[in-house]
């Protein structure tokens, strides 16, 4: 999914930095003897999976059965079939995983070919997921890869629940945030607020930007999720509009002027599509005109793409290194053959090489992965009674609560226009407002605390209704 600015001189030579030693690149001929190939291919893997060790996880049971089970039962989803995704599919397939699926909404572009090594010139225009799956299956015997050429939002949640581990090779915060919310959404907590292992959906997230990269392991409920640490991402640089309009000083200013101001002026109503080459070309030509007017050098088509899509050139070797780290973590989570990375690896190859592992901590009040506060209710409790209860609840003491459930705003204290629209819900049973499910998550905002310490807050609540079928399950029994 990563897009790329081609032809930037400082990065052209980067492919030669790392020689890819995996057999894929050397053009091996199909093996005549599949068995011989199998044993030689799993030789290194066997060293990890067949022998006991000191650094292994507590549940590790070495043996051929483990290796076979990994092949047979573990299903892995790779999100993204771009620079990282290509590497991930190849690495995971060569690490012995047999059941892989890959999802990506993009088609192959010429500028991808320098590093998205599964693609050839004749593939330009075809869906990345489909070509990537086909190429890896051609080269690695025994692996089955199911491609999904669609947006991640197009899939039902059940689709994601089927996988043992989700591996991310993405280039956007939005997409990471979405998958993170989906994966954390499967997590359930018991009545003591302990995460239930069988509902935990592990994620391994890779990311690269030029010569820098990261690999992290997210075990929802145990290690920080993406949302717990979203502050790690630097805010996007945005130029003041008046600078763009009046006092441009750089090539990027000229490009953003064409993209943000001139486009609307000329195409009233039609929105700019960064994936449409004609749109991009138009922005480039306008930017070039403006640059000439102000005597500013440096506007090129590739810079235009870079500025508009906010991208930094991708480096094949960085992708290879980060992907290798991610594939290894995936193997460790699946097999227990070693303790997992705990929990955030950064890699920097800008000058020499620097890697570091940082153990970030969970935000215990995280709205996405945190347990929230368990509240048990009778099915007859109305929304109004629930709001009163939230005010008296010792862990909440929240006055003036507004309540939202799965995107439906059940009650809003403000502004008046929304208060009016939601007021009629107050007299209805919460059970009905929550579509008669025995349990569910609601979020409340209001003012909490006492005296000087009163402050506005947003809290996650796990609501469970007493005496409803399906609630006899151990996970909700026992009460708060």
């Amino acid at each position: 999914m990563r897009r790329h600015i081609p032809q930037l001189p400082q990065f052209v030579g980067c492919r030669s930095l790392v020689s890819h030693t995996v057999p894929l690149r050397s053009g091996v001929s199909p093996m005549a003897d599949a068995t011989a190939q199998q044993s030689s291919r799993s030789r290194d893997l066997d060293k990890l999976l067949l022998r006991p060790g000191h650094l292994v996880g507590p549940a590790f049971e070495p043996g051929a059965e483990l290796r076979d089970d990994l092949q047979k039962y573990v299903r892995i989803l790779v999100v993204g079939a771009g620079g990282l995704g290509c590497e991930l599919l190849k690495d995971l397939a060569l690490s012995g995983f047999r059941n892989l699926e890959v999802i990506d909404m993009d088609r192959i572009e010429v500028s991808n070919l320098n590093r998205q090594f599964l693609f050839r010139l004749e593939d330009v225009g075809k869906p990345k997921a489909e070509v990537a799956a086909k190429r890896v299956m051609e080269r690695v015997s025994g692996v089955n890869i199911v491609p999904h050429f669609c947006r991640i939002e197009d899939k039902e949640l059940e689709f994601y629940s089927e996988f043992s581990i989700i591996v991310l090779g993405l280039d956007s915060i939005e997409a990471r945030s979405y998958i993170n919310a989906v994966a954390c959404g499967f997590l359930e907590y018991d009545s003591n607020d302990n995460p239930q292992e069988q509902t935990m959906k592990p994620m391994v997230d890779g990311g690269t930007e030029g010569f820098k990269g990261h690999a992290r392991v997210i075990l929802p409920g145990m290690t920080p999720c993406f949302e717990c640490t979203i502050w790690l991402f630097p805010p996007q640089v945005k130029f003041p509009l008046c600078t763009l309009a009046e006092t441009p000083r750089t090539a990027a200013h000229c490009i953003e002027y064409a993209h943000l101001i001139k486009w609307d002026e000329v195409h009233s109503g039609k929105s700019f599509d960064p994936d449409n080459p004609e749109h991009m070309q138009w922005v480039y030509l306008e930017a070039a005109k403006r640059a000439e007017l102000f005597g500013i050098p440096g506007v090129t088509y590739s810079l235009t793409q870079g500025v508009v899509k906010n991208i930094i050139p991708a480096i094949a070797s960085t992708n290879a290194i980060i992907s290798a780290a991610c594939a290894l973590e995936t193997l460790k989570i699946a097999s227990g053959c070693s303790k997992t990375l705990s929990n955030y690896l950064t890699y920097n190859g800008v000058e020499g090489l620097h890697t570091k592992v940082t153990e970030f901590v969970k935000d215990k009040d995280c709205l996405v992965c945190g347990p929230g506060i368990l509240i048990e209710l009778d099915t007859s409790v109305t929304l109004k009674m629930f709001i009163d209860l939230v005010e008296d609840h010792p862990k909440l003491l929240m006055s003036g609560a507004s309540v939202t459930h799965r995107g439906k705003n059940l009650y809003m204290q403000a502004p008046p226009v929304l208060e009016e629209m939601t007021r009629s819900n107050l007299s209805l049973p919460l059970f009905e407002l929550m579509d008669k499910f025995p349990k569910g998550i609601v979020h409340v905002t209001g003012t909490a605390g006492k005296g000087d310490k009163r402050q506005s807050c947003l809290r996650k609540l796990r609501v469970a209704f007493k005496g409803v079928d399906g609630i006899t399950d151990t996970d909700m029994a026992g009460g708060a």
Partner: protein, 231 residues
């Protein structure tokens, strides 16, 4: 919308991680394999390695249980934070908010400002707000729907307000932005022009600027540009 996945701060060896968050802990520069199991929850996290096969059945059960449920709408963290912002709105009586898509779509709304002071007294100006799923990491996109003769708002509705772009911070909220927009009408600023002509008139001839604003708001031409009535 590709965004940097890498926090540059923590990639630079010279920068201490402590500057980022008091919550973060520092690991020595060692292989992840050698990380001490004594730290925090890392001993816990080993537990997950994973009885993947053993829990297989349970996972299937859960998936089956979820059948028959209506499709679950994913509520993004951005939506939740916005819910908080909206439920805490405290608008002056000169500003009002509306939700064209109903009460369950808070991500797209309109704010109407009726300045009670200054050049724009008596006018009615509507702004559209578009909120991203990663709000407040990213600022709302705000445009002025009403064509206005204003030094800091261009004829296509682009608004030059620092907190919408270069000075946006996640601690700011919708209320702050609405106050910022209101401020633009009481104190238009000729130093950050988006409408250069209007800015020049405001700077050189405030009396003429005032009469231009009145003419535009009443519905009429200022120079070559026609403005629809907004009083």
């Amino acid at each position: 919308m590709a965004r940097s996945p890498i926090p540059p701060e923590i990639l630079s060896p010279s920068v201490s991680i402590r500057t980022l968050s008091p919550k973060s802990q520092i690991s020595p520069l060692i292989s992840p394999l050698l990380l001490s199991p004594l730290r925090g929850f890392s001993s816990n996290s080993e537990g997950i390695m994973i009885k993947l096969f053993k829990v297989k059945e349970k996972q299937r059960e859960l998936a089956e249980n979820s059948n028959g449920k209506p499709p679950v709408k994913k509520q993004s963290a951005g939506e939740l934070r916005l819910h908080k912002d909206i439920s805490e709105l405290n608008l002056p009586k000169t500003c009002s908010i509306s939700f064209p898509n109903g009460k369950d779509d808070l991500m797209n709304f309109e704010v109407t400002i009726r300045p009670d002071d200054g050049y724009y007294l008596g006018g009615t100006f509507t702004f559209t707000f578009q909120i991203s799923s990663i709000y407040p990491h990213e600022a709302p996109k705000v445009k002025c729907k009403t064509k206005v003769y204003h030094p800091n708002i261009d004829l296509d509705g682009n608004v030059c307000l620092n907190i919408l772009r270069e000075d946006w911070k996640p601690v700011l909220n919708i209320n702050t932005i609405i106050y910022g927009l209101y401020h633009l009408f009481t104190e238009p600023n000729h130093e950050d022009p988006l409408n250069r002509e209007a800015a020049a008139v405001l700077r050189d001839n405030p009396k003429m600027f005032e009469s231009n604003v009145r003419r535009a708001m009443a519905g009429g031409y200022v120079g070559q540009t026609f403005f629809t009535r907004c009083i």
